[in-house]
Amino acid sequence: MSLLIFLPFITALFLFVVKMPINAVKSVYMVSTLCVASMAIYFYVQFDPSASMQFIEKHSWISQYGIHYSIGVDGVSLGIVMMNALLMPLIALGLYKQRDKKGYWIHLLFVQGGIMGAVLSLDLMLFYLFWEIMLLPIFFMIGLYGYGKNSFVAIKFNIYTIFGSLLMLVAILYLAVSYKEQFGFYSFALDDLKNLKLTTIESLLVFSGFMVAFAIKIPIFPFHTWLSDTYRSAPTGIVIVMSSLMAKLGAYAIWRVLFTLFDETSHQLAPYFIGIGLFGLIFFGISAMNQTHLKRMFALSSASHLSLIVVGFFIYDIYGLVGSSYLIISHALSSAALFLMLAMMYERVQTYTIDTLGGIAKEAPRFALFFAFFALSIVGVPLTSGFVAEVLIILGAFEYNIYVGFLAATSVLIAMLFMFKMISAVLYGDTNERTKNFQDLRVHELMALIPLALLILAMGIFPNYFIKNIEPTAKAFASNKEVTRYE
């Protein structure tokens, strides 16, 4: 299990130290990420849906403060682990021809390790460590390989997110110290800290410390101002990582940390967050509609879907939980694929602006097919995985409150609006001198996209096979809640 985290780090370090030609670097990258992917698949097959936390490893790290290196996986985190493991080699396949800098691949490996660590860790200090570590490669990638005012954006993004993280750090320390006061020894393990008794004010403050950090990462409504700059400046590899993995990690952390530790508080605050989430869903959707820059549009659209994920989590019943976990995976797949295709398009036409595009379908039918498919899978057309997830969340929302359900259902339509508009503008219409002779997808690009498409279809047609791994975890959690729900 630890290899999943450390293999990328070790490979990255190896690549940093050893001088080798760029093709060899890419091969080493592929080998390493494929190893991680196959290990992740092995764990997926071995995964026992009925047990909650498994493959646990625990070692003492800083013993005076009771900090452990402890990792494990359950139904919800398994999805993100799989995504992290599978997307990384596919990114490389898709961008194979485009990126000839060694650092690019090294940093991607670092991000993979960092995200893996954050998802798997069960100790808050360890979680914090990985949570911060993954910022560093992102910072470097934006600064080194980004576009526009990239070093400004890199620093802005960094300060923004670290601000949240530091609040979280204080919150974590506060928890640990209170634990010591109540139980006599330090512990940062989630399992221990859950027994903590805090006053309302304390738990509100600590809760918001965590929440700010997560909200910035996701981003939830008032903390989204870093989003569009960063997505525009960041190179594709990082955009994919941010939208498919890092943002999901924020949503996941809400579930893993906040719901575990602050059961009651999160329950009481749920209506507010559902409200903010719904507002974000609509707000980001409408903002996306007005964008002419494709990357920004997708950035906002994924923010809008992430708000939906947050709503799903805060609905707090089994439909919401399963739906959100499912949406995490399916949105990761679709948005990764879309951003990859954007990068391929940019390589061909050197533009991201919608107005300058058009008629690609005539020139490149295969490209158009995949592009349309992924765009539709994001909005949740039936037969795609997004559909299953959204239906589940909306079901949960109706069960929670009819108005919430109604709002959630209608606002999903907004995504349809701008996606269709975008598809028609980009793929159809007349060709211009930019899109003339648009080269169709090459073999290595197809190799990257086909698995994603198949997976999306499979998840849309046979959801049961995938949900059965998530369901027990969610059920155990939701049934726990059911009792306290209407007290």
């Binding site: 070692h59 003492s60 790290w61 800083i62 013993s63 005076q64 403060y65 290196y69 200090m125 914090y128 460590l129 911060e132 570590i133 560093l136 910072f139 470097f140 600064g143 080194l144 990239n150 070093s151 890199a154 620093i155 960094n158 300060i159 670290i162 601000f163 530091l166 609040l167 750090l169 204080v170 320390l173 506060y174 640990a176 110290v177 010591k180």
Partner: protein
């Protein structure tokens, strides 16, 4: 090795070596290189000897029948002595390249360096106010001169006079404070003072309280806490890089050794009186330091200003000593270690790339360093990350201890404040990294300078990394736990 031997050998080695170089300097056989290596070996041997004393709890008055127990060698002083001897050694080792490129490192400079370390050793062992004062002045006087070492630089001379004037002025507060304490206690021995404080009522202690406050002023001046740290920018800028590193990293450790002993043994009773003042001081130091650091455009000045912020973090832990004695004190020790390692590394890199010129290095001078010298840039990045308290470096663990001790003592708001200052620090520290990696430079630098310095820079960088993740799980090397253990022993020897 018996502890008596260590206690006498360490200062003796430093002193004799200093005297030896002082005489040897006039011989025809003297070369700068020889002087340098004699000093370096002295520090190394002294460090090895003193490192034998750490790791157990003991207290040993040094030759009480001769010195009337004015100095005491215990695990506490052993730990600190080892710390700053290591710091001095690293500073000097990294400075090799700088020393080679300049001509103002005469044999007197090595002598002064050794004298100042001798002063610090005595200061750490001092069990009596007068001894402490003399030791402090030995160390300070040597450092004053080291600051003004480069006679041809106007900036250095200005820094020298400023530091000398303000430093002597600040020292007079100490004397006055000591006199006041003596007036009521009739002794300058720390144990006697502690006994007096415990055994008399508060009415009779007014002079002692006033005296302790005055002594604190001197200490605050020395660690450059706001509002007594007005000298720090100019002096750090004027001094040459190795000396700046020495002052920021090593000298501060020795001062804290004394202040901790003084506070833990004696003035902890006045904790309620002190706290509001120190809390205010910590906050003002953090705010003002952050402002200063953000506005600088020379990297050296920025590092100098940020050292004020680091004093602020240390003050946070200092406030918490009353309520969370153990964790706060070990947090301070760990933080000092982490800080001097990173600061010496960062200043060392600057001195390495400056090649002996006294031109202040601006952010733009760092442009493109990652391309021309990837290893130096990577080490520099590690030091900067550690200063910024980024996880997986030793600086993060240090901040973690500081904040934990603050929360444990009930000062959550201070921890929050520290976190904000850390967030601001991301800006000025990451600006350095951005310039290192993201900006192209016009000029192409090729030669790699002195290998010797490079090795020590890289070693320090690895230690910085190891200190952040180090665990006995991986190898049988001392990691984070081990340092913590050491500080426990050290505090234990103070008899708390």
């Amino acid at each position: 090795m018996s502890n008596e031997f260590i206690a006498l050998a360490v200062p003796a080695i430093l002193l004799f070596s200093a005297l030896f170089i002082l005489l040897f300097g006039f011989s025809v056989h003297y070369t700068k290189n020889r002087g340098y290596f004699i000093t370096l070996w002295t520090l190394f041997i002294a460090f090895l000897i003193s490192a034998n004393g750490v790791g157990e709890t003991f207290t040993l008055p040094i030759l009480p029948h001769i010195f009337n127990s004015m100095a005491v060698y215990d695990a506490f002083s052993a730990t600190f002595i080892s710390l700053f001897l290591l710091g001095g050694f690293l500073t000097l080792a990294i400075a090799k390249s700088f020393v080679d490129h300049t001509d103002f490192f005469t044999h007197e400079s090595f002598v002064l360096l050794l004298f100042s370390l001798f002063g610090m050793v005595i200061l750490t062992m001092a069990n009596e106010l007068l001894t402490a004062f003399i030791a402090l002045e030995i160390a300070s006087m040597s450092v004053y001169i080291l600051v003004g070492l480069n006679r041809n630089s106007l900036r250095a001379s200005e820094a020298f006079f400023k530091y000398l004037l303000l430093g002597s002025f600040a020292a007079s507060f100490y004397l006055l404070g000591m006199v006041l304490i003596y007036a009521s206690v009739k002794s300058t021995n720390l144990a006697v003072i502690a006994h007096y404080i415990l055994s008399t009522n508060l009415e009779a202690q007014l002079l002692v309280i006033a005296g302790s406050m005055l002594i604190m002023i001197t200490i605050m001046f020395k660690i450059a806490a706001v509002p007594f740290g007005a000298w720090v920018l100019d002096v750090y800028e004027g001094a040459s890089f190795p000396i700046t590193a020495y002052m920021a990293g090593v000298f501060k450790v020795a001062i804290f050794a004394f202040i901790l002993r003084l506070f833990l043994q004696n003035f902890i009773a006045y904790e309620a009186l002190y706290d509001p003042l120190v809390i205010g001081g910590a906050m003002v130091t953090l705010i003002a330091g952050s402002f200063l650091a953000v506005t600088q455009n020379s990297v050296k000045k920025m590092l100098a200003a940020s050292s004020v912020v680091h004093s602020g973090y240390l003050l946070i832990a200092f406030v918490s000593i009353g309520e969370a004695t153990y964790s706060a004190t070990s947090a301070i020790i760990f933080y000092l270690f982490a800080y001097f390692l990173s600061a010496i590394g960062a200043f060392g890199v600057l001195s390495y790339i400056s090649k002996g010129s006294d031109k202040p290095i601006s952010y733009d001078d760092l442009n493109g360093l990652a391309k021309s010298r990837p290893i130096i840039a990577a080490s520099f990045t590690l030091f900067i990350l550690s200063l910024a308290g980024f996880p997986s470096t030793i600086g993060f663990i240090a901040k973690f201890y500081i904040f934990t001790s603050a929360i444990e003592a009930g000062y959550t708001i201070l921890a929050f404040f520290g976190a904000l200052a850390a967030c601001v620090s991301i800006y000025y520290y990451f600006k350095v990294i951005a310039h290192l990696y993201f900006k192209e430079s016009g000029s192409v630098k090729s030669d790699n300078g002195e290998q010797f310095s490079l090795i020590f820079i890289v070693v320090s960088a690895i230690v910085v990394l190891w200190g952040g993740v180090g665990t006995s799980l991986l190898y049988d090397l001392p990691g984070i736990n081990a340092l913590n253990e050491l500080s426990r022993y050290a505090i234990g020897s103070l008899g708390l």
